[in-house]
Amino acid sequence: MTGVRNAARTRGRAPVADSTEIRRLIAVARPWLAGAVAVGLGQALLLVAQAAVLSRLLATALYGGLTASAAVRASAAIGLLAAGQGLGGWAWEAWTESGARRARSATRRQAVARAVRLAAAGRCDPGRMATLIGAGVDELDPLVARVVPRTVLALAVPALLLAWIGHLDLVSAGLAGLAVALSPVLAGLVGAQTAGAVRHRLASLERLGARFAALIEGLPLLRAFGRAEDHERAVAASGEDVRAATLATLRVALLSGLVLELLAAVGTALVAVRLGLRLDAGQHIFPQALAVLMLTPELFVPLRRLTSDFHAAATGRATLASLGELAAADRSPAASEIQGRPGRPRPGPLGVVLEGVSLAVPGRSDPVLDGIDLRICPGERICLVGESGAGKSCLLRIVAGLVPPSAGRALIEGQDIRTGRSEAIGWVPQHPVVLPASILDNVALGRPGVDESIASAALEAAELGDWLKSRRLGLRTPLSELDAPLSLGERRRLAIARNLAGPRPRLWLLDEPTAGLDLASSERLAAALGLVIGGATAIIASHDPSARILARRQVELRRGRITGTGDERTRHGRDLAFPAGAR
């Protein structure tokens, strides 16, 4: 199955979901959908009753003898039935929406959890995920709210109606039943043509979303190089692409509706002829004939509605398949496979041991990290130096548990990182991300006990006090990336404030904390860091002397291997990694 999906993907088309995924999707919504199906059946019964009442009324009118009371009774009955239909209509809408909402929330929650895990390992595209989980999951609504209940109704309602028609006139039921049985076959034949086009459409929509997100990032650059118009044309072209693909799908999809209508007309005509012959032969079956003729078109309505909703839900099915791929990509080795006892956490700073850690990245022939053996004592601060691309960031991410190493293992306090960590570590990345929420939320990240005073204290300690004061709404100011973007230095300080707001970490991982800052700011930041880190263990990756000063030991990485280690202060400020005189 995965192979088929991958093959479909490489052909530029999105695969479509299978029934187990749909079943899992609606698991949460079953009660409401069952209620909706019951409502649908009830509506069918009401239809039968209405046909009975009307046929009796009209037959009485035809044969004469229509009394006022009979008319009143009939009108009242029709009115009551209408009320029932109205109630049923409201219940259908309410319950299908309820079920769809629950299925949507559950799916989104699961999908975002998976996407965040993948993003932590650096393996997913935020733009594509946002399109998939945002707009794509919205497309699941027609699938859950309409297709699923209508599939059941498309089987149940014609059966119900056929039973009643058979009770009235068996041969008509046979003729109508034949037409009804043919319709899914024909609709299916037509629908099969559209499958490929549907996949193509979803794939192009996902591409549009991902490309657009990337373009927002790089738009100033494109304008600067005068290439924005090219991309404008490309966006317009891919929009046209989506349009043409969708229209092609629709043409065929609507055609299936047309086919069903014609089939319904043919079926009704056959039944009418048959009944006409019987009437002509003198049989007094007018009420029954009328009822049968009223109900025969209704046999085809559920299937027609299902086909039109089926095509509307096609994007939803493709979304489901993409979510399935997301789930497959998220599959990480089960924690039980890795031996490790949780142990009782000891107080004090954490010690880190790396044994033979390697990391290979697909698409690169050399491994990013190759056989790293490193032992960091509790409370020790080391600095990773090396040229850019030597693997410093990757090493930090392995220690943080965000990326599993391809070989070897990383232990914190004797426990393998992959079994999970019980507490947070201090993590200051090179490019911290600002969430679209208030400053308080960005600092607190929802940790219990972090209130406004602690958040402002953390910001003060991270040298953002003045910045906070300059904000109009203080801690409640919403930060949105494009509106008032924070400079890189401010973002780093925000990341540090995040770490300060909670329980003080016992292990800090800092990736280039002072890169991009001028000398004064980096000095101050480094001093502040020195104070806040205190006696905790710290691994700092940096080129900058002001940050390197923080560490007692230096470890040099070159092409993924450790090539030197030494004490910063024993030599007279001469760097091991760099030849003398260069600084």
Partner: protein, 678 residues
């Protein structure tokens, strides 16, 4: 089509809408006709009418049933086509609009919200036509046909159907209006959900490291609740509308039955007409049942279209030259520039800022300046700046974070407008030229480079579509990316994206510099190109750039002191303390700061011999020129010592400049750090 307005119905569009509505209406009317004729056939057959009439009726039934199917098909296709082309055009329009608005920023906007506008709001706006307008028009036409036919047979029945239709429509409209406010919040709620998902996935690393995933998911659930309120309101409106429509339709049917029955008893009509009337009432009821689907989401559609129009109303960042539509491609250089280049031996134009002032928001820092309209809360970021870039004379730009270095670059790139002063390109005022022509002279590497999810080759060729693979490989080798390139499996075809192939910060910066160098434009603007690089690589990059740009103008933004030393001209931006002049090349070719107001240097003038680094044997106390926040340590490089003021050799030693301000102790309510073992 004006660039600003939402591409709503333009010239040919109303006709297309009417055509689609006409087709659908024909289909619905055919359905009514089918019902009526079928009913007549049914009832009249038992009365043995003339054969001609019977066969005409049978023919009419066949015609109507075919027409119903075909016209509905055609109408749906036409309306969907309309909606889709509107959607495609509005997406393209959205992109063009964003070009104008970024990097001025969108108030209250963010990436996820924009994405939602692109994907979902365009669909909502499209539904205005497809789901709402066309079906309503068609239903109206069909209902009129039913009313007229019934009225012809029995006036009171016609009135009954009319009234029931009016009541039904009123009920539906009421239901939609009542739920309107909450449904109208639907697109915005969707945008919030999309924004949160984007933010959470983008910050996945930090959330995982800080164990905040659950909080992010709970936040998502909150946003979803808001979205759920919107969908619940839509469903409630649809449900009540359905109930109203069913009641009205059924009521109409019941009333027609009653009225018809009394008419039969009064002898005004026969049973055949009665049958036809009943079926007409059924048909009208069916038409009414179709209304809720069409209009229940109307407020949401309108809100979606409104969100798109919001973008139309926002101010552009830098006003493009009035009137003219942008030319395709960069366009030829203006004559004066070419002449100037010829005058200097073809070396390229000079770009200069004269007494420039740029306004920025005081609460903002870094990127955005909003040029031209100082509001409350905005102050002059830069005032009275003189900066000149000439070929062969590289200039460095230095200053603390937040002083507006990037804003200066934005002003040169014409992303923001100057509040005062002028930008002169080779003697011509920049405002006389379309911005594209100025940008055609500039090659820019931003502070936070962006990579597109395309191949490496495509990324590097953004500014130079004709660059060859050899040129690219040679350039990358110069920037110390040669081995990196070699060990990529697919070489220049590798797709660069964090999820496909991660690139480290330093590699990213160098790729951005390569992109700018490759573009082969007369002026290079590099914003902190070495901030993530280790010193040897940074030196190599600087040397490569200086060599390759020796006949071009170069503006290099940096914090690094040793780099500043290599530039003959340095422009520094103090944090808003007053005017600052750029630096013109020093007669001795020294790396020296000019133009600081004297009072910022109590007693320290770098040009006086006594303020030079004090020498104490092997150790050098770095001398500081303190300007409040702005520290410059004279790097103890022997190279500098050579071209310094004759002080002698300085050797690398403990260079540790003192702090200008003491660091405050951490706040008592913060958790205490583990004690320093010493």
């Amino acid at each position: 089509m004006s660039g600003r307005r939402l591409p709503a119905l333009d010239h040919g569009e109303p006709k297309r809408v009417l055509a689609a509505a006409g087709l659908s209406a024909a289909g619905e009317i055919a359905a009514i006709g089918l019902l009526a004729t079928g009913a007549w056939l049914l009832f009249a057959a038992s009365l043995r009418p003339p054969i001609l009439l019977l066969s005409m009726a049978i023919g009419a039934v066949q015609l109507f049933s075919f027409l119903r199917g075909a016209a509905r098909y055609g109408g749906k296709l036409a309306s969907h086509d309309l909606g889709l082309s509107f959607q495609a055009r509005s997406r393209a329009w959205l992109y063009r609009r964003l070009e104008r608005l970024l990097p001025a920023g969108l108030p209250g906007g963010n990436q996820g919200d924009l994405l939602a506008r692109l994907i979902s709001d365009t669909e909502e706006a499209q539904d205005l036509v497809v789901r709402a307008a066309v079906p309503v028009l068609a239903a109206g036409a069909a209902w009129c046909a039913a009313v007229i036919t019934a009225g012809l047979l029995l006036p009171s029945a016609g009135w009954v159907i009319l009234i029931s239709g009016v009541l039904g429509t009123a009920g539906v409209a009421l239901a939609v209006i009542i739920g309107g406010r909450k449904s109208a919040a639907l697109p915005a709620a969707r945008g919030a959900v999309c924004a949160w998902i984007l933010g959470a996935v983008a910050s996945g690393e930090e959330l995982s490291a800080m164990r905040a995933e659950d909080w992010a998911l709970n936040r998502l659930a909150e946003c979803e609740r808001a979205l759920g309120a919107g969908t619940r309101a839509v469903a409630a409106a649809a449900g009540i509308a359905r109930a109203a429509a069913a009641l009205a339709g059924g009521g109409g049917l019941a009333a027609v039955a009653y009225v018809g029955a009394s008419a039969i008893r009064a002898g005004r009509i026969g049973p055949v007409e009665f049958g036809v009337l009943v079926f007409l009432a059924l048909g009208a009821a069916a038409v009414l049942q179709g209304l809720p689907d069409a209009v229940s989401r109307l407020p949401a559609h309108r809100a979606g279209a409104e969100r798109l129009s919001d973008l139309a109303r926002m101010q552009d960042s830098a006003p493009e030259t009035a009137g003219n539509r942008r030319p395709a491609g960069p366009g030829p250089l203006p004559a004066s520039v070419r002449a100037g280049a010829a005058g200097r031996g073809g070396a390229g134009p000079a770009v200069a800022l004269r007494r420039a002032a740029i306004t920025g928001d005081s609460s903002r820092s870094g990127r955005s300046g909003s040029g031209g309209r100082p509001d409350a809360g905005q102050r002059l970021l830069i005032s009275d700046l003189d900066l000149e870039l000439r070929p062969g004379h590289p200039v460095a730009l230095a200053g603390p974070s937040g002083t507006g270095k990037t804003t200066v670059l934005y002003a040169l790139l014409r992303f923001v407008d100057l509040t005062a002063g002028e930008l002169i390109v080779d003697g011509t005022d920049a405002r006389a030229m379309p911005p594209e022509q100025i940008r055609a002279l500039l090659a820019w590497s931003p502070e936070q480079p962006a990579l597109f999810p395309a191949s490496l080759r495509a990324n590097l060729r953004v500014g130079a579509p004709a660059a060859t693979d050899e040129q690219i490989a040679g350039l990358l080798a110069d920037l110390r990316l040669g081995t990196w390139l070699e060990q990529l499996d697919r070489g220049l075809d590798t797709v660069l994206a964090p999820w496909a192939h991660p690139v480290s910060g330093g590699e990213l910066q160098r790729l951005s510099v390569a992109r700018a160098l490759l573009a082969d434009r007369p002026v290079l603007l590099l914003d902190e190109p070495t901030s993530h690089l280790d010193p040897p690589t940074a030196d190599a990059v600087l040397a490569a750039v200086l060599e390759r740009a020796s006949n071009r103008s170069l503006l290099w933004v940096t914090h690094r002191q040793d780099e500043l030393a290599q530039f003959p001209a340095v422009c520094s931006l103090p944090p808003g303390r007053g005017p600052c002049s750029g630096v013109l090349p020093d007669r001795l070719g020294r790396s020296v700061l000019h133009g600081y107001p004297r009072e910022l240097y109590p007693g320290r003038n770098p040009q006086l011999a006594e303020d030079l680094p004090q020498m104490e044997g092997d150790r050098v106390h770095a001398d500081v020129l303190s300007a409040g926040d702005f520290l410059i340590a004279q790097p103890a490089r022997h190279q500098l010592a050579d071209r310094s003021l004759g002080v002698g050799q300085a050797r690398p030693a403990d260079v540790r400049p003192p702090m200008s301000r003491p660091v405050p102790p951490p706040h008592p309510c913060l958790a205490q750090p583990p004690p320093d073992p010493g």
